[in-house]
């Protein structure tokens, strides 16, 4: 009986169709990716002539050598790496340290602080006050400005808070009786137990900082500090031409035009780190959504 069940599951038309549909969707997502890769590996002329589909034509690797050798690209890559590592470290540390006391029902003023977070999250301030704040803090042209404006993302904080709420109070009580301080309890008992949720928000944070565009665009004017997304946007913008509508503006631009191949290569190299992290991080993405969704 058991065997029969297993056999019938194997050939179930439902799962067959399911797999097929998923494969098709998967392919749809992969096509632009392979198209980009093919373009970055092709010669300049076939790309302009629109002959490159999913397979490179006039295969070359020079574009990769040029892009990786480009000082501006390297600087931008470093800036983004800095944001994604240091930024994430600070962000995660602060997020869990904020979430922990807020998860304790006996913490006075908990509700007010919580509301303050939620309100500032729902009613995002306009950029003008944020700009002036950063300017007055003397953080213009400093990568910490970008880290600071996104340092605690309330959504992540709420996920962590809910996770902490699900942890048995007796854990910290036991440690308290042994004479451990609050900080010690937090770092040696609570934080290690919260690894799954920390992994989740770390991933959110890494991708958030790696992909951040708007605030770096606003706060960073030093060419060598521009993060990768700002740099890439400018490469891509150069190709958009007159779509902005102001013809005179376009005509007065410098004639330097960046070949599509270089653009594709830059975009591709910039997504490599994300691609490398993603397979390892994917399970945490899924977990993260479920963490705290059911309170025990």
């Amino acid at each position: 009986m058991k065997n029969m069940n297993r056999n019938s599951r194997k050939i179930s038309p439902f799962s067959l169709i399911n797999t097929l549909v998923l494969l098709i969707i998967c392919t749809l997502f992969l096509i632009p990716f392979f198209h980009l890769l093919a373009k970055s590996l092709s010669g300049a002329y076939p790309v302009i002539r629109g002959e490159v589909g999913l397979w490179p034509k006039d295969f070359q690797l020079d574009s990769y050598i040029n892009v990786i050798g480009n000082r501006q690209f390297r600087n931008s890559f470093l800036s983004s790496t800095f944001l994604a590592t240091v930024g994430t470290f600070i962000s995660v540390l602060l997020t869990i340290m904020v979430a922990y006391p807020l998860s304790k029902p006996y913490f006075k003023g908990r509700k007010i602080i919580l509301y303050a977070f939620v309100i500032s999250w729902l009613l995002t301030p306009s950029i003008v006050p944020v700009f002036f704040l950063i300017k007055n803090l003397g953080l213009m042209n400093n990568l910490f400005s970008v880290i600071l404006v996104n340092v605690i993302y309330t959504f992540n904080m709420l996920i962590v808070k809910t996770y902490f709420e699900g942890m048995p109070e007796s854990l910290s009580e036991a440690a308290q009786i042994e004479g451990a301080s609050n900080l010690r309890i937090f770092f040696t008992i609570i934080a290690p137990l919260a690894k799954p949720v920390i992994a989740t928000i770390t991933i959110y944070s890494v991708f958030g900082y790696w992909n951040s565009y708007f605030f770096p665009m606003l706060f960073i004017s030093k060419p060598h500090l521009r993060p990768i997304q700002v740099y890439i946007y400018e490469l891509v913008y150069a190709a958009m031409g007159s779509t902005s509508g102001n013809i005179s503006d376009v005509a007065s631009k410098n004639v330097s035009s960046i070949p599509d191949v270089v653009r594709s290569t830059s975009v591709f190299v910039s997504i490599v780190p994300v691609m490398m992290i993603y397979p390892f991080a994917q399970k945490h993405f899924v977990k993260g959504m479920l963490i705290g969704s059911v309170k025990g």
Binding site: Y45, I48, E51, L218, E234, Y237, G241, S242, S256
Partner: protein, 489 residues
Amino acid sequence: MKRIWVCLIVLCLFIMPAFSNGQNDSEDGPVTLKILTDMNPDDDMNVDPVTALTEELTGFNLVFDKLPDDPTQRTQKLNLLLAAGDDYDLIRLSSIGVAKELIPKGFFYELDDLLAEFGTNILANTSKEWFEPVTLDGKTYAVPIKRTQAASIAGSMYRKDIFDKYNLSQPTTPQEFKDALIVIRDGEGYTPFTGASGFPVIDTVSSAFGICNNAWYDVNGQLVPRVKMPGFVDYLTFMSDLTKEGLFDPEFAANTDQMVQTKVASGRVAVSFWAWWWWSANGAVRQNDGAEMAYMKPLLSDEGEGIAWLWGTTPEWATVIPKSSKKPEEAIKFLDALSDKDTFTKIFLGEEGVHYNKEDGMLMATPQYTAEKGNSWIMLMTSNDNLQLAYQQIGQSGEDENQDVLRTYQGMKDAADSVAVADPTVSLPPPEINGTYGASLGSLERDFILSVISGVKDISEYDAFIKQWNKEGGTELVDAWNNIYSSSK
């Protein structure tokens, strides 16, 4: 536990200085000028050889910061920086239009006294008329930069080899043009004619109907917007007929610049709108067997009249000194040093035989020019009228090894210069309500042109369109421009 804190603090202390923006003037050393530009080569101009050379020749220390390329974001950030009083000494704007918009807001130093005292070279080397667009109530607020000669630069190209194959000569009137397109359509499956949606009015064709890329026209001393020119309806009718008969690309309304270049480069198109800054596609077009590009002369009306967009009759860029600068005198002194004939020659042109050679009366860049001065335009913060043409030729010839920039520019210019006319509003300060209505009226017009040409709307809807155009601020804008126009004469 303690270790984490110590690590964190050490990390911050270690990293902070590396990413801070401390630029301190030393007491005795050269003066440092902070410059904000909105154009950047694909590299950091602070480490460009041109910057090093300029610092050596002028004796100033230069620090460059960059604005975003995207015009919307550029304006947003620039406004914020100016409002916050950031301490830039010079701002180089690669759109004189942006300068014109910001001048009335009072962000910049008035330069007349400074120029009179420290700007002898600038005044001697810049035509008086170039200052007009950046003058408000008789006061100068910017140093204008003239980069190129005035020329008609957005015409059409045709494939000479395809025309030769069908024994077609270059058409001169709309009817001849249509006949030629019919022959091509009935031939071997070429798309006869295409254009980019960013350029709804194709000068080459609209010329015969008395309109072009200019938004305004002088009719008996009065400014008339393009939508109210008599030829507007005729042009749209002609173009929509072309689309209906399969002579014009039905995808026109969706074509981006890039798509048009791809279509032409793939060898499928016989005639296409072409802009001179699309030169990087020229090489790809030539990859098709025997393909030869030629630039089409604008079509003429039955009376033999035509018109094309003359671009570059006013300075393209401008340099301003924001009021938050603490060194306006030094900033002008620097610009003045840059405008000096010898310095300008050394920075922007180099030496004959080393950086450029004379060929057929044109100055052609050598590879050494590209290596050392390829990015020299970042330093173009003032101009020198006497050397401008030389700089343009060297700059354009040095852009690419096939000289496609130079060839495209010259081809466009030669084809249409005889009928090219500048927009009469180009050197006037825009009326205040232009900021409110200008852009939306522009896109209203663009949408109407695109929908009529691609057959979504019929030309009979013109009256309704004009009514809407008037209602959405058109009437006021026409009056406002005419007030400025008549008082400027």
